[in-house]
Structure formats: structure tokens, C-alpha cells
């Protein structure tokens, strides 16, 4: 499949010129954002097998800091991105250190609890806009405010970030760190017996994942120019990351992309079909998909394809 990677890159690069206009560009941007977030989650949830269901905490932090920097000090939102990354890093350490020495469930429970804690708390804190949230610059004062009227510049910025996340994941996969992550997922006790520093490795994975998720959040709030507790820290933000990665194939490089490819158009479609109340039905659908995945194909589409493709090949050769 050597040709597929350049083909994919070309497709992503030229997509806005293949399908033109705000409607398609909007979907494209949504796809990229979903792919970035899910790929970020994938590092700790997919490769290391530490299932975080509260990753919105990192997304929210990354989403709030740029608008906060603008709101408090009039700085361009981009200036807040590194701060978001630092805070997310600290949060990752705060959560990972106690829970990674316990059974896996504690980590998962902690992620939900802390995400909720932050969401509620931010909703009461006036400094960060409380329940109303924060807004970015309505009209850009200069190019570095990144307030573009067209989706196109955002598309390419997001694409660049996606490329960075994917490349990092690729390098991780081949490295000692990556092998250790997979060993931890496959069997912690055996990994320990081979000298894998389990706790430290998990922590590193969470930190890396947190930083990337934070950047995804920043991209989101810079583009939409608005954030509130629900869109930053809500459980549905966490759910979306998990389902996209899991649907495509958690623990694989392109799994999150495949998941985003399947789910983002689906979400756009259901939102249109079901109208305003559509989000309720969309989440019923999400819940159902997650349950079915867990029950029948936890490896996602990637795993399914690996099982089915050889059979298809054989049949086409026989024909």
C-alpha cells in the first residue's frame, strides 16, 4: 500500500479545491479537528490502553487559555496556546501520578470526575466567563489574531497540526517508548518483568496526549471565537474523541482518521435530518455504536478490515 500515503496527503491537501465552498470547507475543518483530537487521545487511550473518558479537560484548558489571554490582556489568542499546553501538562501529571499506580479503572473514573469538576467550577468562575463563557476578537486587529472570514486558512492550519500529530505518533510507534506503550497495553505484569518502567511510561503518554489535545482545543476556540464550559469541558467532547479513535481503530496510526472520516459526515447528516433536537438522537446513535464496537469489534474498522480484506482478496482472485 505504498501509494496510499502520498495519495492520502494529496487528497487532504487539495480537498478544498475539489469540493469547494463554505459548506464543504466547514466539514473539512470539522473532520481535521476531530482527527487531531482523536489522534491525541489515541496516544494514551489507544496505544497505551489507558482509557480516558474525560479528555475534554485538556481540550477545554487549551480552548479557554487563548480567549482568556485576549479577554484579560487584549493579546492575540495564539499567545495563549503555550499556556494551555503547560496547564494541560500539569493536569496530566496531577491525575496520572496517583492513578497510574492503581488498577486501570481508577484512572478512567478519575478522568470523568476531574473533567466534570473543572466544568462545573469554570461555570461558576467569573474570571473565565462563568456560564456565559468567553469570546475572541470579533474583528481581527491584525493577521495574528487569526480571525479569517473564510474557512480556507483554518483548513490549512489544522492540516499542518494534524500532520505534526500524525508524524509524532508515527515516530513514537517505532521507538522504544512506543514498544513499551504497546507492551503495557498487552500485559502490564509481563512488561514490568521485562524492565518496562510502567508508571513513568504511562505518565509520559498521558502528558504527550494532553499537550496535543490542548492544541486541538486552542484551534477550536480560535476558529469559532467562542468557548463555554459545555463546549470546552463537556462530556460529549470526551465522547467524540473516544468514539472516533475507537471506531477507526484505537492504537493504530490512521484509525482516528478513518473514524473521523466515518463519523464527521454522519454527524453533519444526522444534525440536518433530525434538526434541532437532532443532537439527542445523534448521541443515542453514538452510544449504540460504542456498545456495538465494544461487543463485536473493539479493534474498530482497522481490525475489521484486516480480517475481512484477505477473504475479499481471495474471492476476487478466485473469480
Amino acid at each position: 500500500m505504498k501509494w496510499s500515503l502520498p495519495a492520502l496527503a494529496a487528497l487532504l491537501l487539495f480537498y478544498p479545491f475539489i469540493l469547494t465552498g463554505p459548506f464543504y470547507w466547514d466539514i473539512g475543518v470539522a473532520f481535521l479537528l476531530a482527527a487531531i483530537s482523536a489522534s491525541a487521545w489515541n496516544i494514551v487511550g489507544g496505544y497505551a490502553g489507558q482509557v480516558s473518558v474525560g479528555h475534554s479537560m485538556f481540550f477545554g484548558v487549551g480552548a479557554y487559555t487563548p480567549l482568556l489571554f485576549y479577554h484579560l490582556w487584549g493579546l492575540p489568542p495564539v499567545a495563549g496556546v503555550p499556556a494551555g499546553m503547560l496547564v494541560s501538562l500539569a493536569l496530566a501529571v496531577a491525575i496520572g501520578m496517583p492513578t497510574f499506580r492503581l488498577q486501570g479503572h481508577y484512572f478512567s473514573m478519575a478522568t470523568i470526575a476531574v473533567a466534570e469538576l473543572i466544568r462545573i467550577f469554570v461555570g461558576t468562575w467569573d474570571l473565565v466567563g462563568a456560564a456565559i463563557g468567553l469570546q475572541g476578537p470579533a474583528v481581527g486587529r491584525a493577521w495574528w489574531d487569526l480571525t479569517f472570514r473564510s474557512e480556507l486558512p483554518y483548513y490549512y492550519i489544522f492540516l499542518a497540526v494534524l500532520a505534526v500529530v500524525l508524524y509524532t505518533t508515527f515516530e513514537v510507534e517505532r521507538s522504544r517508548f512506543g514498544y513499551y506503550l504497546r507492551a503495557i497495553k498487552a500485559g502490564e505484569r509481563a512488561a514490568r518483568s521485562l524492565g518496562v518502567p510502567v508508571r513513568a511510561t504511562k505518565l509520559k503518554a498521558l502528558m504527550l496526549s494532553a499537550v496535543f489535545t490542548s492544541v486541538a482545543g486552542s484551534l477550536y476556540s480560535i476558529k469559532t471565537g467562542f468557548i463555554d464550559p459545555e463546549s470546552g469541558f463537556g462530556i460529549l467532547v470526551s465522547v467524540q474523541m473516544v468514539i472516533i479513535a475507537a471506531l477507526g481503530g484505537a492504537g493504530t496510526l490512521f484509525g482516528p482518521l478513518i473514524g473521523a472520516l466515518l463519523l464527521v459526515p454522519l454527524q453533519t447528516a444526522t444534525n440536518t435530518w433530525f434538526g434541532g433536537g437532532g443532537s439527542g438522537l445523534t448521541y443515542i446513535l453514538y452510544g449504540g455504536i460504542i456498545v456495538l464496537l465494544a461487543r463485536f469489534e473493539p479493534g474498530g474498522m482497522h481490525e475489521w478490515w484486516q480480517r475481512v480484506a484477505p477473504r475479499l482478496m481471495r474471492r476476487s482472485h478466485a473469480a
Partner: protein
């Protein structure tokens, strides 16, 4: 003494799985550990390997106190172990499994891979190196575990029933492999039920029963030892043997 375990006890609540067990292994030896099921061998092993912290006693490795050290630290110090029920990384290939072991001493992918390839070759897994571990049968998995631990460059290997469930041919191959490992200079402590393995490989044998060592000597002495026979077969057998 490469490994010295003194007065090891391990309690689970009020149940004493191991009590006052001692073990001294000199570098280059092959020690056999036998005993009926439930005698505490695996728990003792876990204490030696850092998987469990003994309630009393000390474990010294090359003079360093490793009693409370983590399993990771044990591996880094040079103690490797296999598991009674193979715990291979099912979704990773044979080569990848061994590479995880190799990465302990070789931080770069290139050298880790080379080491892993060499070991895969040596342990007879070359043909399956690209297969997922889950596609191997139990004998294959046991061999993979050995290969994986070997890749960590241990000075001492604790093998927990690594030769169980093999056909006669496989058994001979496995015994030959263990000999090759020994020739590399690695000290071995082997838990086994198969007497042939103990007789041919072990230089000294410890017999466990109900948590402590009941006999200790070379294989020939052990097999003839009354207490050992009684442990395995019960009192009645001893009386029957005494009748003319």
C-alpha cells in the same frame, strides 16, 4: 553467591503461603525447584522476581538488597523470569515481543532489532518471527517468553514451568535450549514437575512443601528422599513401601 534468599515468608492475610524458605544460588549454577501443587513455589518465585514483597526475609542479588525492589528494578539488575501461564503480548509479533525485551539494554530501535533477531534465531522462532504471538500454541508461547527474557540480557533466569506440556521431541529441543542458555553464562532456577528435566539439567534441587523447603541436595539424593516421596504421594505410600 549470585542470588541469596534468606528466611523468606509470604502471608496472605492469615494464610502463610511461604514460610522461612532459603535459597542460595552461585553464579553459573542450575537449580531445580520441585514440589506438589500449592506448595508455595510460585509465590516464592514471585518474591524472588520482585512481583511480590516478602512478609519477612531478605533477597540479595549480587550483594544488593532487592527485597523491596520493583519487578522493573529486578529486570534492570539482571533477574529475568517467565510465567507459569505464558503472558506473551498477544497482538504483537514474535519479533516485536522479543524487541520489548531487547529495548531494556538497547535504547535504539536498530540495535534492539538486531539483538532480537539474533535471539529469535537462537531460540528457533525465526520462521514465526512475523506472526502474532496469539497464533502460536502454548509451547511456542513458552519459547517466546524465554526468548523475550533472554533479550533483556539477564544474569539469572527464573523459569516457571517453562517446559510443561511439550511433546517428547519438543521437550528435548527445550532442554537443549536451556543448556545453550546456560552455556551463555546465565544462572538458572527452574521450577518443574517433569522429573526428566530436573534429573538432566539441575545440579542441585530444592523441594518445597507447604511453604518451606523440606529437602535439598543433588537430584539422585532427592529422588530417594523419604520426606520428598511422602510429600508427593502421601503417608500411605510410605507405609506400603515398607511392607515386605
Amino acid at each position: 553467591m549470585l542470588l541469596s534468599a534468606q528466611n523468606i515468608s509470604k502471608a496472605f492475610g492469615s494464610f502463610l503461603a511461604v514460610r522461612g524458605a532459603d535459597l542460595a544460588v552461585a553464579e553459573g549454577e542450575i537449580i531445580g525447584l520441585i514440589g506438589p501443587n500449592g506448595a508455595g513455589k510460585s509465590t516464592f518465585f514471585n518474591c524472588l522476581a520482585g512481583d511480590a514483597v516478602p512478609t519477612t526475609g531478605r533477597v540479595l542479588f549480587d550483594g544488593i538488597d532487592v527485597t523491596r525492589a520493583s519487578a522493573e528494578a529486578h529486570a534492570r539488575a539482571g533477574i529475568g523470569r517467565t510465567f507459569q501461564v505464558p503472558a506473551t503480548f498477544e497482538d504483537m509479533t514474535v519479533l516485536e515481543n522479543v524487541m520489548v525485551g531487547a529495548f531494556l539494554r538497547h535504547h535504539h530501535r536498530g540495535t534492539a532489532r538486531e539483538t532480537a533477531l539474533r535471539i529469535v534465531e537462537m531460540t528457533g522462532l525465526a520462521r514465526q518471527s512475523a506472526q502474532r504471538a496469539r497464533s502460536l500454541g502454548t509451547p511456542g508461547r513458552k519459547r517466546l517468553e524465554i526468548a523475550r527474557v533472554l533479550a533483556t540480557g539477564p544474569r539469572l533466569m527464573l523459569l516457571d514451568e517453562a517446559l510443561a506440556g511439550l511433546t517428547p521431541t519438543e521437550l528435548q529441543q527445550a532442554i537443549a535450549l536451556v543448556r545453550r542458555i546456560h552455556e551463555l553464562g546465565i544462572t538458572l532456577v527452574i521450577v518443574e514437575h517433569i522429573m526428566e528435566v530436573i534429573m538432566t539439567l539441575a545440579q542441585r534441587v530444592l523441594v518445597f512443601n507447604q511453604g518451606h523447603v523440606i529437602a535439598h541436595g543433588n537430584p539422585r539424593e532427592i529422588v530417594a528422599n523419604e520426606a520428598v516421596i511422602e510429600a508427593y504421594l502421601g503417608r500411605g505410600h510410605r507405609r506400603r513401601r515398607e511392607a515386605p
